[in-house]
């Protein structure tokens, strides 16, 4: 429950110019908004973490959510990652041909980039779009039709009853989907390289550039995304209010916050990876 904002202190000398007041509010506004948003996210995350160990987990619901999130978004992610593979190969191939003349290293370079950056981040972006919005829409409409209030009346805390299974399922599915997506992406890249620059797939597939650091970055990123996406999606859903318009706002908020969240985490972990691992 939002605490009551303390009334603004009365200015001592004469009437405070409303312009200054409004200006400060204008400047401060976005920061307080972002601040409150982050604070609420941390609160939901802490609650989820607490309930993870406190109450029994509804495993049947987790499995159902895995199906809902994983299987249903498989086709969509496969298409996107397939195209991604081909696009990256085409771009790097064209430039490498123009600049360096030799194409042998494309495969290795692409694999490294895939592990470090493209694989986890782009898959997570797609999961944020498909699953993040889905969660916000589903939970948002449950809030708007007062189902969440009904849950609370029957001693089922929404975070524990609804969100914990979804977070676990999403975490698990993010890792699984990222691996599958990378295989698909690499396969289509290999095909692309063969078709466009008739580069022999065997030379395309070489892993000498891969170092342990890449696997660590990959694992860190997928784990982080796997938690960030559902928490943001569910939080946006829970904060919905006011009829169908509320559900609309919740879904928009989910996809924007999730995309921003992913970009921030990507930046932080890439910087971390760069400084420590390479």
């Amino acid at each position: 429950m939002a605490t009551e904002a303390a009334p603004a202190p009365q200015p001592t000398q004469g009437e405070e110019t409303p312009l200054l007041h409004r200006f400060l509010e204008g400047v401060g506004g976005p920061f307080t908004f972002v601040g409150r948003e982050i604070f609420e996210l941390i609160r939901v995350f802490a609650l989820t973490f607490f309930y993870l160990f406190y109450r029994p987990i509804r495993w049947r619901e987790v499995v159902r959510q895995c199906y809902e999130m994983g299987y249903r978004s498989m086709f969509f992610i496969a298409v996107v990652m397939g195209f991604l593979g081909m696009i990256m190969v085409m771009q790097t191939g064209l430039q490498a041909q123009k600049m360096l003349g030799d194409l042998s290293m494309i495969g290795a370079l692409f694999l490294q980039l895939l592990f470090r950056e493209l694989g986890p981040t782009i898959t997570a972006a797609m999961i944020a779009v498909r699953v993040g919005t889905g969660l916000a829409a589903e939970i948002g409409s449950m809030v708007v039709t007062e189902q969440v209030d009904a849950l609370r009346m029957n001693d089922a805390e929404p975070v524990q009853y609804l969100i914990v299974p979804r977070v676990i399922a999403c975490l698990f599915m993010t890792i699984v989907l990222t691996c599958i997506a990378m295989v698909i992406s690499f396969a289509s890249a290999m095909a692309g390289a063969y078709l466009m620059f008739d580069l022999n797939p065997r030379t395309f597939y070489n892993t000498d550039l891969l170092i342990w650091g890449d696997f660590i970055t990959f694992a860190m990123k997928s784990l982080a995304y796997g938690i960030v996406i559902p928490v943001i999606g569910c939080h946006a859903g829970l904060a919905a209010f006011g009829g169908s318009e509320g559900v609309g706002m919740a879904t928009t908020r989910a996809v924007v916050n999730a995309s921003l969240g992913i970009t921030f985490v990507d930046f932080a972990l890439s910087a971390f990876g760069f400084v420590f691992i390479y």
């Binding site: 976005p30 086709f75 969509f76 298409v79 996107v80 195209f83 991604l84 081909m86 696009i87 990256m88 085409m90 771009q91 430039q95 370079l109 490294q112 980039l113 470090r116 950056e117 972006a125 797609m126 779009v129 498909r130 919005t133 889905g134 916000a136 829409a137 589903e138 948002g140 409409s141 708007v144 039709t145 009829g243 169908s244 318009e245 509320g246 559900v247 609309g248 706002m249 919740a250 879904t251 928009t252 996809v255 924007v256 999730a258 995309s259 921003l260 970009t263 921030f264 990507d266 930046f267 890439s270 910087a271 990876g273 760069f274 400084v275 390479y278």
Partner: protein
């Protein structure tokens, strides 16, 4: 199952092309509502600028970390400027800004249209003998495309600045050197191809979000579902378009 899904896909594509034709027709014959157009230009543009700006800055930094590091490995630190800005201008900028745009603008557009359909406001428009496509959809379609075009230009600029900054901080590449390699190796065409892609993404996002918005059904749950399918469809169309445009453009 596969047949059913393909059939649904074809039906959607058909519906979208019909809607696109009618929207463009509404624009060409200037029947689209001006005040609605300017209102949307403000809402789409100004409201999504901060989000796009933050994404652009982070994208610039991330590009430097990834591609810069590869180029440095080859010892060609002078090429860092070229490497990152090439990738940003052509590929990563339009895609990531497009994804953020499809979230911030596309989802919002679908949600708003969906709510108007579900609360019978669209029926009210038709009952007042006002064509909803001319009044609601055509202005939004144009506003989203124009705003995507402008925001990508600004986004690219911010991404490059952020990239230059990160290159200096992380790789110690001097700004002047970064700018030199940028000015020397980047052709104007790299910049334009990125912008063409951005406009392509913008029109896809606008069309998809308007289509799923106006075809919403089934109360509050329907709005949520419409936004979900709109954002998914925008993401797919961004990558498909990117592939096609990259292949066609030199």
């Amino acid at each position: 199952m596969i047949g059913g899904r393909l059939l649904a896909l074809m039906e959607q594509l058909g519906g979208m092309s019909v809607l696109a034709a009618r929207m463009v027709w509404g624009l060409v014959t200037l029947r689209a509502d001006r005040t609605e157009f300017w209102r949307n230009m403000y809402r789409v543009g100004v409201k999504s600028f901060p989000v796009v700006a933050v994404t652009a800055v982070l994208v610039g930094a991330i590009t430097v970390i990834q591609t810069g590091q590869v180029v440095a490995e080859f010892g060609a630190t002078s090429l860092v400027g070229w490497g990152t800005s090439f990738a940003t201008l052509r590929e990563i900028g339009p895609i990531l800004i497009g994804l953020m745009f499809s979230g911030r603008v596309g989802a919002n557009n679908t949600a708003e249209l969906g709510t108007m359909v579900v609360t019978e406001q669209v029926d009210a428009l038709r009952a007042l003998a006002i064509n909803p496509i001319d009044f609601l959809l055509a202005p939004r379609y144009l506003a989203i495309i124009i705003m995507m075009f402008m925001l990508t230009i600004i986004g690219n600029l911010m991404a490059l600045l952020a990239a230059a900054g990160t290159a200096y901080v992380l790789l110690g590449v001097d700004m002047r050197l970064y700018y030199a390699s940028f000015a020397e190796l980047i052709e104007l065409w790299d910049f334009f191809s990125g912008i063409i892609k951005a406009v392509g993404f913008g029109s896809a996002i606008a069309l998809v979000s308007c289509y799923f918005g106006i075809n919403t059904s089934g109360g509050a749950v329907g709005v949520g579902r419409a936004v979900n399918s709109a954002v998914v469809a925008s993401a797919v169309s961004i990558f498909v378009l990117d592939f096609l445009l990259s292949a066609m453009l030199p």
